[in-house]
Amino acid sequence: MAIEVATIIVINTLLYTAILTLVALGLNIVLGVLKILNQAHGIAMALGAYLVLTLTSLGLPLSRPLIVIVLLLAGLLGGILFASVTAILMIRKLIYYEAIYVLLVTYSIMLIAEDIIKFIWGARSYVIGEVYPLFGTVSIAGISYPVYYFILIIAASIITALTYIFIDYTPLGKMIRAVASDRETAMALGVRGDMIYFSAYIVGCLLAGIGGALTAPLLTLQPGFSLEFLLMAFIVVVLTGLGEIKGLPITAFIISLMRAVAVKFVPELEMAIPFLAMLIGLALRPQGLFGRG
């Protein structure tokens, strides 16, 4: 019994960590470079998920390789769609606004976008049932789990690793880190601010879009579904350090573990426990676990 419970908690934690890392990583890259805490970030996630719904409803003969392509395509399209509609506003205007205006504007964008999603896909709930049967199930400690869970964990981990490689080792990634750390000096050294803002914003939105697409088969899609992930992503961002991406997957893992334990033993406190952890973390280390003091 104890092994079963432990297995459930471990798998749920890994699953949630994988998704949360993608969403929070995107959020924190945008926050670090553009200094914008984008409350509409979850919309890129929602678009990725809803585009999976649309693409799987086209009547294509879905096979395992095709569904993987569909999921990635939907995620990329969702991220690009959201970024292309909002990038000009973010990069040309919002980066010069005070934080309170940024919060109000991005919150408004989120509400508007949620209504547009309702207008396009309706207010009803959807379940994307085509994915699980394609991959089958696997039995661990006497409990049957969809193989898709593990595909999601692996896919999200690969995308996260690629993002870190991009940020750590490519010239564009290094310029993104430089602008995030000290925008003024970077400009004086010849870095094109607009290009970096745009690149960082696109990367952030793509991560959220892919996160949404990979998550879509797990969820009941309905308006506002991304809000829970966005709130959890905010916790991860604050606990990691505002704009700091180093160590973010570790923070995502800690929060996911807390949530998984809460879901198993005190489901009523599923949201309260991670937020409590954030408050304690803020009190003890305001700059975040990995932020520079």
Binding site: P171, S181, E184
Partner: protein, 220 residues
């Protein structure tokens, strides 16, 4: 011939006017110093020349071209290098990446990176052993040198050095001063240096401006 001319430059940051009608010129191949107390506007002047601050009045002529409305990147391409007073070393990048950042920014080919890096290391050989260290793992004095080396890597025509000697031990200060003279002579680079106290570098300056309350009050 003047490589840089500032004509009646006014700069306001919010409601406060920091620079009030600055007129000055920097002769090509010279070492020109701007001195003045903290708050005189030296850093604002440098940031204005680099393009970080907009002029509310006046113009900046660099190498015969009016660059008043040009963005910082254009000015870097034209040949203005900048080493800020706060050093601006990226703690989250290695020393090597700090040095290479301007080359990355201007899309200069990777084949050229090594050549440029070697040239800079020839001037500052002490940086060779620091290349793989994180920016955060370097001392204040080392960061000063890195900032100057980074500004030099693009072979600028004009190098702006904002308080390069501040906080340096006398021996290191003397060494850096000799390096700057070497840079001027070997690289044919014009130097514009801001220092609150002129005494340590007076002997190497071809021209000195004194700045007070946002304007030039003396020159010689």
């Amino acid at each position: 011939m003047a490589i840089l001319k500032l004509i009646d430059v006014y700069v306001s940051l919010g409601p406060i006017t920091i620079l009030r009608g600055v007129n000055m010129s920097v002769v090509e191949g010279s070492i020109t110093c701007i001195t003045g107390p903290n708050g005189a506007g030296k850093t604002t002047l440098f940031k204005t020349i680099v393009g970080l601050y907009k002029l509310s009045r006046g113009s900046i002529i660099f190498d015969g071209e009016d660059i008043t409305k040009r963005p910082p990147r254009y000015r870097v391409i034209k040949g203005i290098g900048f080493s800020p007073d706060y050093r601006g070393i990226y703690a989250n990048l290695t020393v090597k990446d700090n040095l290479l950042l301007p080359l990355m920014a201007l899309n200069i080919s990777k084949e050229e990176w090594k050549k440029r890096l070697d040239e800079v290391l020839e001037i500052f050989p002490e940086l060779s052993s620091l290349l793989n260290r994180g920016g955060i793992q370097t001392s204040g004095g080392q960061q000063k040198i890195i900032a100057v080396a980074r500004a030099l890597i693009l072979k600028p025509k004009l190098l702006l050095l904002d308080e390069p000697f501040e906080g340096l031990a006398p021996a290191l200060r003397h060494r850096l001063l000799n390096k700057l003279i070497e840079i001027r002579d070997k690289m044919k680079c014009t130097l514009l240096i801001a220092e609150p106290v002129i005494t340590p570098i007076r002997d190497c300056c071809d021209h000195i401006y004194k700045m007070e309350r946002g304007t030039i009050t003396l020159e010689g």
